[in-house]
Amino acid sequence: MIKVENLIKKYGSFTAVDNISFEVGDGEILGFLGTNGAGKSTTMNILTGYISCTSGKAEINGTDILNDPIKAKSQIGYLPEIPPLYPEMTVKEYLNFIYDLKKCKLPRNSHLKDICKIVGIEDVYKRKIANLSKGYKQRVGLSQALVSNPPILILDEPTVGLDPNQIIEIRNLIKKLGKKHTVIISSHILPEVQAVCDRIVIINKGKIVADDTEANLSGNIAIKEITLQIEGDAEKAISKLKEIQEIKCTKSGNIQEYRIKSVSSDLLCRKIAELSLKNNWLILEMKTNKLTLEDVFLKLTAGEDVGGEK
C-alpha cells in the first residue's frame, strides 16, 4: 500500500507539489491525471525515491521512502516518462543488468523469459536497444519495471508516443498487471485513465482537486441536464416544471424544448413523466445529458471545484 501525507515539493519559490495526501490500496489501479506541469511526475519521482520532498511523508508498504529508501525502492517497479534505457546495450544485456541491479532472487532465465513474454519483446531480445522502435523501447522500459516482480508499479505516461494499436496493447497489459500488482499510472490522456483505472486522482497546479472513481467523479461534479421536448400548452408546462427545477425554454411552433438542470436526473425524469400524464402533454423527447470525464477534467483543471463552483 502507498500512503502519501501532506507532501510538498518546492523548487525555490515555485511549489510543484502542494500539500497532497492520498492512499493507494493493495491491488488497486490508480490513475494520476493532470495537465502537463501539474505535478504528476514530481509526485511519482518522490514516491520512487528519485527526488526528495520538501516536507511530508511517503510510505511504501509501511516503509518511509526517506528513512529506508533501499527497502522501499525494492518494492517498486518504476517506468519514468522517458524509459531509462542504455541504447548501446542489447535488450538481453539490459534486462540482465536490471536483474542484478535489483538483486533479484527469482530464477534468472525463466523470470526474464516470462517478462519478455508478458511485455511482448521476445523477438527483439537480442537486438540493440538503439535500433528498436519507440514502441519496443517503451515495452523494454516497462519490462525493466517488472524485473523482480515488485508489488507496486509506478508508470509515468506509459503510452506516450505509441501508435493506437500499441496503446491498446499496453493498456490491456496494464489491466492484466493490475490483477497482481498495485499500479499508479500518470497520464493526461483521459480515455487511457478511464479505460484502465479503478480510481482517479486529478492534480492541478500541484494540488489534488479530485480523488474518486470515474463514475463518482462524473456524478459529483455534474449538474446533469435534461433536454425535454413537449407538444402542448407551454405556459402551463413551464409553471409546473419551474416548481421542480431551474429551466431554460426555447420554443419552436407548438413544440417547446426545455433544458432542465438537476443534481438527481433519475428522480426528475420520474416527476416529469408524472406531470405529463396528469396534464396530457405529449413528450416528444426526454434525454439526460451526463458530463463525461473529459468535461469533469476540464472543469477541475480550469480552476473550478467539485460542484461546479469557482
Binding site: N45, Y50, P80
Partner: protein
C-alpha cells in the same frame, strides 16, 4: 555495486571509449618507452613513468567524462537512483570500473619491464614503486574525474573541468614556488600530485604518499555522493 561495476565496465567496451583510451595509452607509453629506454639503451623505466603523469592528465578525463554526465543526459540515472542500491554503491561501482580499465592500460608496463629484463637486469623494486605510484595517481585522477562528471550533463564540460582540476593539482608545486608565504607554499607542496608521484618514481614507498592518494580518492568519492544526494533535494 557489482551490477553497476559490470555494466560500467561493459559500457567501456561496447562503445569506442575503452578502446580509444587503451590504444592511446599503449601507443604513447610505447613511444616514450622506445625513446627513453630502448633507444637510449637504459634499463630504467623511471622517465617513461614520469611522463605518464602528463598522459594521464589528458586521457583520464576521456575515461571519466561520461560516468555521470551521460546518465543524467540520457535520463538513465533514474534507473540507478530508483533501484534498491545505495549512492555509495553506485559511485564506487563506477569508480572501480574506470580504475580497472586504467589498470589494464597501466599493465602494459609489465610488458616493458619484461622487455628490459631480456637485455639487462632491471631494478624490480623501482619498477614496482613506479607502478604503484602510477596506479595511485590514476585512482586519484579518476575520482576527481567522477566528481567533475557528476556536476554536469555535458560530457565535454565534464572532460574540460576534469582536465583543469587535475592540471591544477599537477601544477601545485610550481605554484608553491611563487607564493612568498611559507605556510601556504609548504601546504601546496604537500598537496602537489607531482611531488607525491615523484617520490614513488624515485623508489620511495612512503606511507604518507599512499595515504595522500587514498585520501584524495576517498574525499572525491564522498563529495560525488554528496552531490548526487544534494541533487535529490534541490
Amino acid at each position: 555495486m557489482s551490477a553497476i561495476f559490470r555494466r560500467e565496465l561493459l559500457s567501456y567496451f561496447i562503445s569506442p571509449i575503452g578502446y580509444i583510451f587503451l590504444a592511446a595509452f599503449y601507443a604513447f607509453s610505447a613511444l616514450f618507452f622506445n625513446i627513453n629506454s630502448l633507444s637510449m639503451g637504459v634499463a630504467d623505466l623511471r622517465t617513461t613513468f614520469q611522463v605518464m603523469i602528463l598522459l594521464c592528465l589528458i586521457l583520464i578525463p576521456l575515461l571519466t567524462m561520461k560516468t555521470f554526465s551521460q546518465e543524467k543526459a540520457q535520463k538513465t540515472d533514474q534507473c540507478l537512483l530508483t533501484a534498491p542500491v545505495s549512492l555509495g554503491g553506485i559511485v564506487v561501482g563506477k569508480f572501480l570500473a574506470a580504475f580497472l580499465v586504467f589498470s589494464l592500460a597501466a599493465a602494459v608496463f609489465v610488458i616493458y619491464a619484461i622487455v628490459i629484463s631480456a637485455f639487462a637486469k632491471p631494478d624490480w623494486t623501482l619498477i614496482l614503486s613506479n607502478f604503484v605510484g602510477l596506479e595511485l595517481l590514476g585512482a586519484g585522477y579518476i575520482s576527481i574525474g567522477l566528481l567533475c562528471s557528476c556536476l554536469t550533463q555535458s560530457q565535454m564540460v565534464s572532460a574540460v573541468t576534469s582536465f583543469v582540476v587535475m592540471t591544477f593539482f599537477y601544477l601545485l608545486s610550481a605554484i608553491a614556488t611563487i607564493i612568498p608565504i611559507d605556510f601556504i607554499s609548504n601546504l601546496l607542496q604537500k598537496l602537489s600530485f607531482l611531488n607525491r608521484y615523484y617520490a614513488f618514481s624515485n623508489g620511495l614507498f612512503d606511507f604518507s604518499n599512499i595515504i595522500f592518494f587514498v585520501s584524495v580518492v576517498a574525499v572525491s568519492l564522498f563529495l560525488t555522493i554528496r552531490v548526487l544526494e544534494s541533487r535529490r533535494w534541490n
